[in-house]
C-alpha cells in the first residue's frame, strides 16, 4: 500500500511517501489511521487531532469510512488551501 503525506502531516512524520503492508484487518482509512498512530511519535503527533486531517484514496477525496485495499494509494493531508 502506497501512503503519501503532505504539508505539516509530512513534516511531522518526516517523510512524504512510504510503501507499507498493514495487517489484513486494516480495511478502511480510519483503521489505517489507527494502525499508523501506533508506528511512532511523529505519526502519533500527525494524527493526534483527526478533525484536522483529510484523506484521499487513489487521488480522490475520501472520508475516513472509505474502504481500502493493498493496491490502493492513500494520502493524508491538512484541509487544502489552493487558489
Amino acid at each position: 500500500m502506497k501512503i503519501l503525506y503532505f504539508a505539516w502531516v509530512k513534516a511531522k512524520i518526516g517523510k512524504g511517501e512510504e510503501d507499507l503492508t498493514p495487517p489484513e484487518d486494516v480495511r478502511s482509512v480510519q483503521a489505517l489511521v489507527h494502525w499508523l498512530q501506533a508506528r511512532g511519535e511523529g505519526y502519533a503527533e500527525a494524527f493526534a487531532d483527526q478533525t484536522r486531517i483529510r484523506a484521499a484514496v487513489n487521488q480522490d477525496h475520501a472520508d475516513f469510512a472509505a474502504a481500502i485495499g493493498p493496491n490502493d494509494e492513500i494520502a493524508f493531508f491538512p484541509p487544502v488551501t489552493g487558489g
Partner: protein, 150 residues
C-alpha cells in the same frame, strides 16, 4: 485546458486565445490570484505551494468538466502554480469564455470556489515572524456550498 506548473503565465495571451476560441465568444472572464504581502507589521517574505502531483491534475480536470456541464462555455483554462513565490507573484489563473457574460462570470466563480476547497494545494508562508502553514478558511467552504444549495 488545465496546467499545473512552476513557471509564471501570461494572462493576456491566455485571455486573447480564449477570446478567439470560437467565432461566437462574446465574453471572457478571468481571475488572477496574486500573493499578498499581508499585515505590515509581519510581512510575507515568500510562500511555498506544495501539491499532490497526479491528484491535482485529476481534480482540476474534474472541476473543469463540471463547469462545462453546468454552463455553455466555448473554452475554459485553469493554470495553477506550485513552488516558491514572492509577494505580487501570480498564483492562479482561471479563464472562461462564453457567448454571454452571465455564464462566463458564474463559471469562473464556481471554478475558484471549487479550486479553493478541492484542489490539493497547501501553502507555507515565510513571514518576518516565522514559518506557518496557511489554514483553510471556513468562508471558502460556504462559498463552495452555494453551488450545491438549490
Amino acid at each position: 485546458m488545465i496546467s499545473v506548473q512552476r513557471e509564471d503565465f501570461d494572462a493576456g495571451a491566455e485571455i486573447e486565445q480564449l477570446g478567439q476560441a470560437d467565432g461566437d465568444t462574446g465574453a471572457v472572464v478571468s481571475f488572477t490570484g496574486v500573493v499578498r504581502r499581508g499585515a505590515p507589521d509581519d510581512p510575507l517574505l515568500s510562500m511555498t505551494l506544495e501539491h499532490y502531483p497526479g491528484m491535482t491534475e485529476k481534480c482540476l480536470a474534474d472541476i473543469e468538466a463540471q463547469a462545462r456541464e453546468r454552463w455553455p462555455l466555448s473554452d475554459v483554462l485553469i493554470i495553477h502554480r506550485y513552488g516558491t513565490l514572492k509577494p505580487s507573484d501570480r498564483i492562479v489563473l482561471v479563464v472562461a469564455a462564453a457567448q454571454h457574460r452571465a455564464a462566463a462570470f458564474e463559471a469562473v466563480q464556481f471554478l475558484m470556489d471549487y479550486l479553493k476547497t478541492d484542489a490539493p494545494f497547501w501553502k507555507r508562508e515565510v513571514r518576518h515572524s516565522g514559518t506557518v502553514w496557511v489554514e483553510a478558511k471556513s468562508q471558502d467552504a460556504s462559498a463552495r456550498a452555494r453551488w450545491t444549495a438549490a
